[in-house]
């Protein structure tokens, strides 16, 4: 009896065991992800208010999607989402890359610095909202005091009733919560670069800038690509930060597609319409990540 006989990867041998081990996960995923997805797809083609399983099926209709694409609210939500995605991911990358490169230097206390530079990652989103809601509080918030002190404004700004101001409060909260992820991923990427690369380049007379341009950047690129997609998806789908901070207001200035989906479902009880918005959001997420990663999408896994 050879060892090969016992190789579990050998086809035809013990396949049943492999499938058996997969079964619980497949069954659970089918029950709590796949089946609900079909339910929501089905709902999106019905004019339905409150969704229950035993409710009689409504006739098939494309009304929800028709209503969606002609609704100014939907296009507003798309615009808000895109603005937020661009602002937040750009800033997360600027801060995240900057901090990662800073603590990637060799110095005493580097381990501790790495830990602290990404600390906001460990603050739950709802708690981040509590902190920033207080900092931007209109009566006793720190930001108003700072703005007046520095002379940017002469009177208190009511951050949450001013559309532009509210958008920036949301953006700043998300940037603060999101940049550590970029730092952590970048540091992991930087660590995978062998010191030899740099030494060899130095021997060849490459300047620090050249070493950065021709070694650091190319090696980091695949990691950064995946990170960018994950950050964008996070902003795209985020619910808790916006919901608790501004509830999508004022005047829908912070109403993203996620918030609109939720409000239609559980604020106005238009579950059919809400499902249609959710399905469109999902399609946008999938298409966007496929476009950005292309063939590299395998690398994400």
């Amino acid at each position: 009896m050879s060892l090969r006989f016992l190789d579990l990867a050998r086809p035809s041998r013990q396949h049943w065991l492999g499938y058996l081990l997969l079964l619980p996960a497949v069954a659970l995923v089918a029950l709590i992800i796949v089946y609900p997805l079909f339910v929501s797809l089905d709902l999106s083609f019905q004019k339905i208010g409150m969704a229950t399983l035993n409710a009689p099926r409504r006739p098939f209709t494309l009304e929800n999607y028709g209503k969606l694409f002609t609704s100014p609210d939907f296009w507003n939500a798309c615009w808000v989402t895109i603005k937020l995605v661009v602002v937040v991911s750009a800033a997360c990358f600027a801060v995240g890359l900057g901090t990662a490169l800073l603590v990637n230097n060799r110095f005493k206390g580097r381990t501790l610095a790495r830990l602290f530079v990404a600390l906001p990652w460990a603050v739950p989103e709802v708690i981040a909202v509590v902190i920033f809601a207080w900092i931007f509080d209109s009566s006793f918030g720190l930001m108003n005091w700072l703005f007046i002190k520095v002379g940017i404004t002469s009177q208190m700004i009511n951050w949450f009733s001013e559309p532009t101001a509210a958008f920036w409060v949301v953006a700043i909260t998300m940037i603060w919560k999101g940049y550590p992820f970029v730092s952590i991923m970048t540091l992991a990427g930087l660590q995978s670069i062998p010191e030899d690369f740099y030494n060899a380049a130095k021997v060849d007379g490459a300047s620090a800038l050249q070493r950065f341009r021709y070694i650091t950047i190319p090696v980091l690129m695949p990691v950064l690509g995946v990170t960018l997609v994950l950050v964008i998806l996070w902003v795209f789908r985020d619910f808790s930060i916006i919901k608790v901070l501004t509830d999508g207001g004022p005047l829908k200035a912070t109403q993203t597609l996620s918030i609109m989906t939720y409000d239609q479902a559980f604020g106005f009880f238009n579950m059919g319409y809400a499902s249609a918005i959710g399905i469109v959001t999902l399609v946008l997420c999938v298409v966007a990540s496929l476009l950005m990663l292309g063939r590299k999408s395998q690398a994400m896994y």
């Binding site: 065991l17 602290f116 603050v123 989103e125 603060w176 990427g189």
Partner: protein, 276 residues
Amino acid sequence: MERTGSQSFALYVGLAVVCGILLFPIYWLFVTALSTLAEIRQLPPSFWPAEPQWSTFTKVASERPILLWLWNSTLAAIGSVGLSMIVSVFAGYSLSRFSLRGGRSLGLFILTAKMLPATLLVIPLFGIFRSIGLIGSLWSLVLAHATLIIPFTTWMLKGYFDTIPRELEQAAMVDGCSPLGAMFRVVLPVATPGLAATALYAFVLSWADYAYARTFLTNAQGSWTANLGITTMKGEYVTDWNEISAAAVFIALPILVIYLFLERYLVGGLTAGAEK
């Protein structure tokens, strides 16, 4: 790289400034929790409480069901992490060791599930849970959090199993172990650090949820989780920021502590796969 004295001085100064700005919100949360109401309402603000008000913490803990909320969050996390880990350990092992037809596409599907917006999935789940009477019960969160956790844990565990050489099981089987016996007695013990890291990361995912708790539990105060509970304090007592901050410290502290002491395990989960 060699650095001159002035260069490393500049580095430390830069680091101090950057950390000072980025971590100020966390500092401010603690300062606010320890300040008196008068102090947080004064201008210019005081950046250090004259006398730290530790009593705010006991006051909040006794006047608000904070401990109940934390307990509920813990129960939901234990339930969903437990459920997800059980199915993911088997699935991850299978994906790592067997080259099954359809196994790869199943793996890819599980990963695509990471892209699902919770705001979409929450609608059908609400309908389903309403029909089977789970609304208002923590069991709804156990199942809903599993939808967030399983896609992560399955793939993380597959990654950990991939790093364990197959020869281990083969040797065990030569010695008369059954394939399942080899998995339980040989592979899982070796994979314990990986299992712990995965479970830890899953715990953080569950602890952070707000969308599902808000949707399924709003009308069941006894089942409120920490994140849901604290949002009900916001707006109700608009001006008592010290009490809300103290409550926030209670909720943030477990994750901050986990992060500070077990960071490398968490980061392992965060970056799993992305570097390949």
